[in-house]
Symmetry: C2
Subunit: 330 residues, 2 copies
């Protein structure tokens, strides 16, 4: 026998109301939320959805599903130099949902609310005859006139990325094929690192103010560094020259690439990094690096915007061949 | 042979970019949108999703599905006295989606953008192995400090509704059971009226400024007047006494109720009205009615907030029995 499952009103009251800490959320007892304006700032808004079986594995832990749904949106705010204010979440529950699952989901949201200092502002719960999905809209505030767009870069500027690239892409491949642990000669902690990086991205909100201060263009890397660098360069009507040896790789990815050089292609064209790709004027590079270090976010200078329309990743003086070159979640 | 279907980037460029008319939408070529702040106004945000087979019929025209997804959100903005600024839409396409269908969907959004003077600000397109669904987040601006909440009403105040009540609920029943056309003795235009009102709600944005100026509490009626009046009264820690003879009914609903008195229960407890329920101080009633008339929105005084916790709908001096009394989309 399964325990009784609550209806929508009870579900909101019991599970989601405790997350609605902002006054404008009206304890989720209203049709809409209000978000205060802040002098000298402008509102930044973004939305992304994840679907079971498409963007995550249905048997992923519910707290990780919740956090991933939220974090992929917070990552977009970070890329636009915005501090998060709050979010709305729509959760579509399949026929076989359980109270236990929902408790885990809400616990995940609560952990991240605390980590990022945000409140649930509203949302919707619906039933679906299909797979579970989560849609999040995140709102933040950026300094007025200092929201770096994808199109603001120009030839001569430096290209930086945060963190390490390719972990999540290799983590996904490990999820799909266990034997790769052996093929890639991974130690247990390296395997765990890659799987965790796929499961739980780390939005670089700690860098948001620095991005707002220095970036001429920025975006988050969600569909693979190679393809996303092309998107930023194309939007800026420029090309880019990237030095593969400067792309920051974790120890786990380096070990996989040593064992199987093709893993580098996966690392650079797979998705789900949620690191930031940032264009910086050379004259700002030193200050940017210093402030990033002060913010506790590792950044690496991987190359430059150049004239033209091509994005080339060079390895030992040769152009790296990347095949299709970009991941698509669609 | 089905025609080639575009990938995500082409899909955004071809179908959605033309809808992104606001500068802050960055032609949908960025990770997030910006929304300008307006002096003396505060931001209002709401989100609602609809799922095929749950909230609409999979064979509904795609333009109507798009407009319904948008309008149920605009209705929430109207209830909070907010003028709409823009919206984000996430569309999950099932395996068998077609370009024709998407063209119709986008056409529907375009028609409503023009009607309500708004822009697409962003969104997401995803694939789903389940049924099609649409999630919309709508943003608007209301006069600062003049966002009527559900909890602001008090005993002695009048209760008003806009438009007519119950059309959509009976329209849904007609969709489910064609024979009701005969049972309810409906003329063809009356049948069409009910079906249309289910398919395409009319958000009462024309009344938003008047609601902001006069309402002590407001909400949109989406789950049936009886249940939603209970929600507003409960949030305001009051009861309500509603006179059934004053509830505005269309000619079609009146004819159905004449033929089958139980149809009144459906009309008052069914969902999808998307009319506004508004509490007004008696001393403001005359001005509210005059300004509503000037705005071209019919409003009807249906009763009053009273002491206590009960919401009673009286008909000919007797309490109307409504069974469960509220519709749930969940």
């Amino acid at each position: 026998m399964s325990p009784r499952r609550p209806g929508e009103d009870e579900l909101i009251a019991r599970f989601f109301r405790p997350l609605a800490t902002a006054p404008g959320a009206a304890r989720l007892m209203d049709d809409a939320a209000t978000v205060p304006q802040i002098d000298g700032r402008e509102l930044v808004v973004t939305t992304d959805a994840i679907v079971a079986g498409v963007h995550f594995f249905p048997d992923d832990p519910p707290d990780a599903i919740a956090r991933k749904a939220l974090r992929v949106n917070l990552s977009d705010l970070a890329a636009k130099g915005a501090r998060p204010a709050g979010y709305l979440v729509t959760l579509a529950l399949p026929r076989d949902w359980t109270v236990d699952w929902l408790e885990g989901f809400v616990e995940g949201l609560g952990l991240d609310q605390e980590e990022y200092g945000i409140s649930l502002l509203g949302g919707d719960t619906v039933r679906t005859p299909g797979p579970l999905w989560v849609s999040v809209t995140a709102l933040g505030h950026a300094r007025e006139g200092h929201v770096p767009r994808r199109h603001g870069a120009a030839p001569g500027q430096r290209l930086y990325v945060t963190g390490t690239i390719g972990d999540a892409a290799l983590g996904l491949r490990l999820r799909q094929d266990e034997r790769l642990t052996i093929d890639w000669d991974l130690r247990r902690d390296e395997r765990e690192w890659l799987l965790d990086r796929y499961l739980l991205p780390e939005p670089r909100l700690a860098l948001a103010d620095v991005v707002s201060a220095y970036a001429t263009a920025a975006m988050d890397v969600s569909d693979g560094l190679a393809g996303d660098a092309r998107k930023l360069a194309a939007a800026s009507r420029a090309g880019a020259l990237i030095d593969a040896s400067q792309i920051p790789l974790s120890r786990a990815v380096r070990r996989a690439v040593n064992a199987d050089p093709d893993a580098l292609v996966s690392a650079l064209t797979g998705g789900d990094d949620y690191e930031l790709l940032v264009a910086i004027e050379p004259s700002d590079a030193e200050a940017f690096e210093a402030e990033a270090a002060a913010a506790g976010v590792a950044v690496a200078d991987i190359g430059a915007l150049v004239d033209g329309a091509e994005v080339v990743i060079e390895q030992a003086g040769r152009r790296l061949s990347l095949g299709a070159g970009s991941f698509s979640h669609f």
